[in-house]
Symmetry: C2
Subunit: 293 residues, 2 copies
């Protein structure tokens, strides 16, 4: 399942609780488009802000929509004990894989990070994707630590942040040199998807794919087919959206705003303390959406 387009949908809220109807509308777009996999409760799915009960409900709703599409579920938390409870919940609700970031409060030693993955992996019954996202977790995972963790039999993929060339190719090559063949690499950071896939990543862990699955699917297909004209055309279409990600504090608030503009969820669907974008930013996002096919 760790190949192609993995779509990370929002978890839209209404008055700070799960908006199941809006979530179902977003999920239907993804299943209709036939994404390769779903990435439920990723950063875009606001996992870090939801209670255990809310996360359990989100996974249940997603599973009811997923059909035959494999579903990966984020199980990050600061405390290992909470992660183990979330693993249990996700697996019981039908998760086909788990997305596991190393969150932190106290700065962690490499040995503590390794021991965390080792302990969690001992408790899982489905494959695990190692989630490397220092921007939100503030945990830096050096390549040698990632490859050491990836030697744990449960690890099936690594989700790495996007990078420009030549660093993308260098990083993919450096990781590959020490990774078991079973471990796929996936790129996130949507603006770097093309670079990442061309550098050899097998999967796009995609925020954009969680709301615009046809366009994202088209980009993956064009890259695989080596259709440079189409790749350039799609990147040009998406560039204004990605500029909004840069301008407005990352992808989450922008994608939530885009979903509201499309009539899929409330204008205020984000978990507090996050606030929806202001009027000017929303206009920018609306303009970016106009350019999308």
């Amino acid at each position: 399942m760790f190949t192609g387009l993995c779509a990370f949908p929002l978890t839209p809220l209404r008055q700070q609780d799960i908006d199941e109807q809006a979530f179902s509308r977003i999920l239907a777009r993804l299943t209709d488009a036939g994404v390769d996999s779903l990435g439920i409760l990723g950063s875009t799915g606001s996992y870090a802000y939801l209670s255990r009960e809310q996360r359990r409900r989100v996974v249940q709703v997603a599973k009811a929509h997923a059909g035959s599409i494999p579903m990966m579920v984020g199980v990050g938390a600061i405390a290992t004990s909470e992660v183990l409870r979330l693993v249990e919940d996700a697996q019981q609700a039908g998760a086909d894989a788990l997305l596991l970031p190393m969150m932190s409060y106290q700065p962690l030693a490499a040995e503590e990070i390794y021991a965390f993955y080792e302990e969690v992996c001992r408790h899982v019954s489905v494959p695990v994707c190692l989630y490397d996202n220092p921007r939100t977790t503030h945990v830096t995972l050096p390549d040698e630590l990632q490859t050491r963790i990836a030697a744990l039999p449960a690890i099936a993929s690594i989700k790495i942040p996007g990078l420009p060339e030549p660093r993308a190719s260098e990083r993919v090559a450096a990781l590959r040199r020490h990774l078991p063949a079973r471990v796929s690499l996936g790129v996130s950071g949507d603006a770097w998807a093309t670079v990442g896939l061309q550098a050899g990543c097998e999967v796009w862990y995609s925020v954009c794919g969680g709301l615009f699955p046809h366009l994202s699917r088209g980009l993956v297909n064009a890259i695989r087919a080596g259709d440079t004209t189409e790749v350039i055309a799609l990147n040009e279409q998406l560039a204004p959206l990605w500029r909004c990600f840069d301008r407005y504090g990352g992808s989450l608030r922008v994608i939530a705003s885009a979903a509201a503009i499309l009539g899929l969820c409330d204008p205020d669907s984000l978990p507090r303390p996050l606030l929806p974008l202001g009027e000017e930013a929303r206009r920018d996002v609306a303009t970016a959406l106009h350019g999308l096919a």
Copy 2:
């Protein structure tokens, strides 16, 4: 209550659940020494790693020991909704004040941080101490934002990280210029306690005070009395402990190790993913303890 020595005890665990007996032993040291206030569920109290139920129990146990000593309770969480639940729990369990950090997952805009404090402060019935600890929260609170937050009527104190001179005096003076008179300043970062108190902080938010309340009490008294000889002597006594804080990833693991050496809790009392110190580090801590009166 935001003056003098505020002692932050460990929350010792046994097999990853609250070790109430060990916690009671530690609390008894603090109440026997007559600290000015208790800081329950601070960073040293591992608040970020405990479930809502565990935190509720910790506050209940602490309240049962506190007697007439005012008790401040940490209520930090990534999601505002969880913070509001923790506020309710802490107040019901008898908290006399709340310690409120700005935790983060997605990087936050200044307006989001202000709105968070504004919303939480609207729901509290006891005074709030603004907790500034970028090392663990990865949220930087510029002085102008802190003074804006401190204008909220519920804010009664600010817990700032320790700084060397002349930056300590400059920072205290800069904050004071814009702070309401009701808002006290407190220094944390134990090695900087003397500098912070001499620079004008009214309270020492103290990790060391959570395990060595007599020594810490003595330091506060000597500083207040202007007894330079005693201040120097106490700092020299404590210096080896503070060097361990620097060497071994911060104060928490060191203080947990010290508490175990004193026979107060298990050698492994930390919440996973945190690991207890290794043998060599523990020997260093033991040596540092030998020098304490």
